[in-house]
Symmetry: C4
Subunit: 207 residues, 4 copies
Amino acid sequence: MTLGEAAEELVRLGTDFHRRGWMLGTSGNLSTVMSREPLRVAITASSIDKGRMNPRQILEVDGNGKMLQGVEGRPSAETLLHLEVIRSTGAGAVMHTHSVWTTVLSDFHHGQGGFGIEGYEMLKGLEGIQTHEHREWIPVVENSQDMAALALKAHALLAEHPKTHGLLVRRHGMYTWGKDLATAARHVEILEFLMEAVGRRQMMEPT
Amino acid sequence: MTLGEAAEELVRLGTDFHRRGWMLGTSGNLSTVMSREPLRVAITASSIDKGRMNPRQILEVDGNGKMLQGVEGRPSAETLLHLEVIRSTGAGAVMHTHSVWTTVLSDFHHGQGGFGIEGYEMLKGLEGIQTHEHREWIPVVENSQDMAALALKAHALLAEHPKTHGLLVRRHGMYTWGKDLATAARHVEILEFLMEAVGRRQMMEPT
Amino acid sequence: MTLGEAAEELVRLGTDFHRRGWMLGTSGNLSTVMSREPLRVAITASSIDKGRMNPRQILEVDGNGKMLQGVEGRPSAETLLHLEVIRSTGAGAVMHTHSVWTTVLSDFHHGQGGFGIEGYEMLKGLEGIQTHEHREWIPVVENSQDMAALALKAHALLAEHPKTHGLLVRRHGMYTWGKDLATAARHVEILEFLMEAVGRRQMMEPT
Amino acid sequence: MTLGEAAEELVRLGTDFHRRGWMLGTSGNLSTVMSREPLRVAITASSIDKGRMNPRQILEVDGNGKMLQGVEGRPSAETLLHLEVIRSTGAGAVMHTHSVWTTVLSDFHHGQGGFGIEGYEMLKGLEGIQTHEHREWIPVVENSQDMAALALKAHALLAEHPKTHGLLVRRHGMYTWGKDLATAARHVEILEFLMEAVGRRQMMEPT
């Protein structure tokens, strides 16, 4: 995959996610692996408006997050977290979104370190899940501006929960991933659906 | 109706339902009867992304769910449930959608085996209903990955409630149907509206 | 205004209102006065799918609701209510929509015969309102399939509340109107906004 | 910036905000500074339908709100508030929107004179905010039709809270601003997101 091909796909996804309210303002980042050996990743530049993205804002970075190619902007500090997820899970693409429901649920469930989503048919949209009789544990970590520290926390969490498909950062948003861009993008849709269902179910019988 | 004609209509509906949040990810299936004697049904292939459907993903199956024609993919296991609904109700089209509101309400009302929707003018959008003074019973069945067992349950339910226009599978979604594609698609709109109204009404005065 | 001109505008509005969830399925009707002496009204045909409207489905009726011109369908029984509103208020256009929020609020407040919307700046979008220091009383009437009876009730209500800009029919929807099509359509937007605001405000502190 | 350039941008933003439900009916106004010395501001004309805006409805006013150029309509009374914000904050653009969530929260928190939004990553989308460990105080002022009085209140508030990025008028809507149009428009998106998140979080555990 060339940087041009990656850029076209990431701009298409970013524009769509912005329209759906999952990457408003300058929030969120998307990345995809271009090659493994050596590791080369295409990622959205820092602080760009997701409603007006263009391919020049997609950058190529190496395994340390150093920029190798790109016309506009610089890599986001969150690049470190994308690289950590790629290394820990073997993912081919990582999506970091900020939706209202993930923000609200990350805060509501933070005290318990996360929450389970269980018994929903939609769980089968997550790679490797064959039945609704599955409990997906969604870890929630405290937010931090220290990305190296957050990457370490993510590393520990992914070692502890190697089968998880996503994690939330408190009052911040979601990270999810997949073997390729299409899978990672589907995971965003699936998890956003499940968060909204879990959130509204909770509102139906407030505790 | 040829497979090509059916495919065009099912792709149009699937794309619209995806946009409206009723068939996110790979969820849901749509089918329509092409002929009765012998029974030939056009149905969406298993596990396709409803946001990027194309006509090659619409397959022709016989009355046992065996694939007769099709370019991409294989029939979903849920084909059995579509065929059961077609046989039990005489429907010309079956729509299986997964929305947030049907998911939430199927869980909320599961303990009572279903719930009634009564007194709403919008009920008149359901085929054969002439007045709002109607009580539509929406049965809810427990979810299962055993589609033959689920088809049997649906068979029993439809024998018990022959006038029902839809049923919910717990934490899974809705099945509705109609004499033709336009009627079945209208039933999706009508029932989704009613579910949202019933759900929000409940939230206004939580029990 | 010719029937052709009226049809173009009503189809445009109906299609937009369907997209926004205010006239799903076959619900709702829109009308506009073509001439006063004698009274000639353009109105949507009965039971048409608002997501797929075309100009042939707009009919011309006289002051008794008798069809004078039209290609497809017949006048809705609700034509009587449109004519009553036109006569009682002098309106040039009448919009009958079915949204989730009007449906939920019509049920929630039915016991009190209506509800007040007070102190909202958005009220100034209603014709003749110059300040937010206004209390708009929204009457709610019980639903009925007897349109002559419902028209009589509306007549009495509009005599009692001559300055009201809209009324709700329980578990059914809203009627609003204006001196012309643009004003009536704006009233739909304004009242839908206010209903959602009032509904969500209620949910914030459930009684 | 010429009036023509400003008009193009304001029409584009107004049309987008209408579509997203933030400037329904005739509600809201948008403005941008064309020059500082002397002060020249482009602003939307009073009482125009935001769903059908055109560039002729954008007017040029001087520092007293007197109209200097424009084809259609006259300056809104709220021009005074725009000018006050421009002078107090040095903003290059001011956005006044009316959304459901800002309306609901302005009413809910009015008794406390405002409310804090704290600990959300999305706060970093506000100019000058580098960390989620920030408490943004959103002042709420009582609504009034006396724009000179409201401008005085805004003046006092902005002197007291010089770092605030927006303020709410009770049951009315939001004012936000930025150094240029793109920043002010981003602030609308960011604050709307935060209001919805805060509102839904409150609904999850009603007080």
